[in-house]
């Protein structure tokens, strides 16, 4: 299923692509991805008492590629996936974050991707439209947060998930190991 969100950043394209690359290099983007993926699982769990609710998976794997420059755009590909026991109960997201000039002084940031619905009882029982609303809310929240961090890196809130290692990270998801 497809999902996406976009926002206009009040910085030039050159500044935006440089800052996006920096957020990826420092681990901030991976950490924010871990947070967003945790929110996604939490959102699914709060829909109602599903058969086997997500949230059991202990790790989320975030994969980020380097920012690829094109003539008038910059693209960063990412994947969010839960791993370990129960990982299949979570959706898997493959998406691109794309920056394009928006006038002379602004940049359009769009995140577009596709996700695989979770397996197991949740995926079987949960209405696709309901599941999609949770996905949209999670991606919109992530895009908003990344956009804010690009526009104002100094004021960017540190992700709750671990940071420091770029591009490929595993984060614990709630509930943590008891």
């Amino acid at each position: 299923m497809f999902v996406g969100a976009e926002t206009v950043l009040d910085v030039t394209f050159d500044v935006a692509r440089m800052r996006l690359a920096n957020l990826a290099r420092t681990g901030w983007l991976a950490g924010a991805s871990g947070d967003a993926y945790g929110e996604w699982g939490q959102g699914l769990a709060r829909v109602g008492p599903l058969g086997s609710a997500p949230g059991v998976s202990r790790l989320v794997e975030v994969r980020l590629r380097d920012v690829v420059m094109h003539e008038s755009s910059a693209v960063l590909a990412l994947r969010w996936e839960a791993v370990g026991p129960g990982g299949g109960l979570f959706p898997v997201l493959d998406a691109d974050i794309k920056l394009t000039p928006h006038g002379e002084s602004e940049t359009l940031m769009a995140m577009t991707g596709a996700y695989r619905p979770p397996l197991g009882a949740v995926g079987a029982a949960l209405d696709r439209a309901v599941m999609h609303r949770v996905a949209v809310a999670s991606v919109q929240s992530f895009v908003s947060r990344v956009g804010t961090a690009i526009a104002d890196p100094a004021g960017a809130t540190a992700p709750q998930a671990a940071s420091g290692t770029p591009r490929w990270l595993r984060f614990p998801l709630a509930p943590e190991e008891a």
Binding site: V47, S52, G55, L89, D127, V130, E176, A178
Partner: protein
């Protein structure tokens, strides 16, 4: 037929009285058919019910309030059950004091206070029963409450399942049990007002 804050308090009391006797047991056992253990299921009940209360408090339209409520990691079974009860009672207070016209985001639709009350009853009873099943027990909630919850968030199911026990029907709707002659339920609650 409406679901009220009193119904939610009844559901919470049912969960509490059914689970208090097993708080001296090991809550790391699996909760019924869930992948979660009993401790984390109770923690989830607390978080979920508190999140519904937060929705009523500030009425976001496109997402949940960006916060998670957790129990202390060393909380005992009695303490994590207390956390779940806390969530239920806070939600009941919000339901009781929120004007009927209030609407807030839920992925299945913009819910009103009654819708969140029904969702809260469902959460506490079904997940509470998951925990009880971890110890070979089951909850026995008042059937009139179950009937009202079913009518509120599964308005179509109520007509189809008129002859079935309301508690069994609620468990069927949540995918916990089978009903002979009926296909597996497809989860799509209706937390928005029924006339919307």
């Amino acid at each position: 037929m409406t679901v009220t804050a009193s119904d939610l308090e009844t559901a919470i009391s049912c969960m509490m009285s059914g689970l208090l006797p097993v708080t001296d047991r090991d809550w790391s056992v699996r909760a019924g058919t869930l992948e979660w253990d009993c401790w984390h299921t109770a923690e989830h009940i607390g978080d979920c019910l508190l999140s519904y209360a937060w929705q009523l408090a500030v009425q976001p339209t496109t997402r949940y309030v960006r916060a998670v409520a957790t129990a202390e990691k060393d909380a005992s079974p009695a303490e994590v059950l207390e956390f779940a009860i806390t969530g239920g009672r806070v939600l009941a207070s919000m339901v009781r004091t929120s004007p009927a016209h209030v609407r807030a985001y839920h992925p299945a639709g913009m819910a009103d206070p009654e819708g969140f009350a029904a969702l809260g009853c469902n959460e506490a009873l079904v997940h509470g029963n998951d925990i009880a099943q971890g110890f070979g027990l089951s909850l026995q909630p008042p059937r009139d409450v179950c009937r009202r919850v079913l009518a509120r968030i599964y308005p179509h199911a109520l007509a189809e399942l008129a002859d079935a026990d309301p508690w069994t029907s609620l468990l069927w709707a949540a995918g916990r049990t089978e009903l002979p002659g009926y296909p597996p339920a497809r989860w799509r609650p209706h937390p928005a007002p029924l006339n919307s």
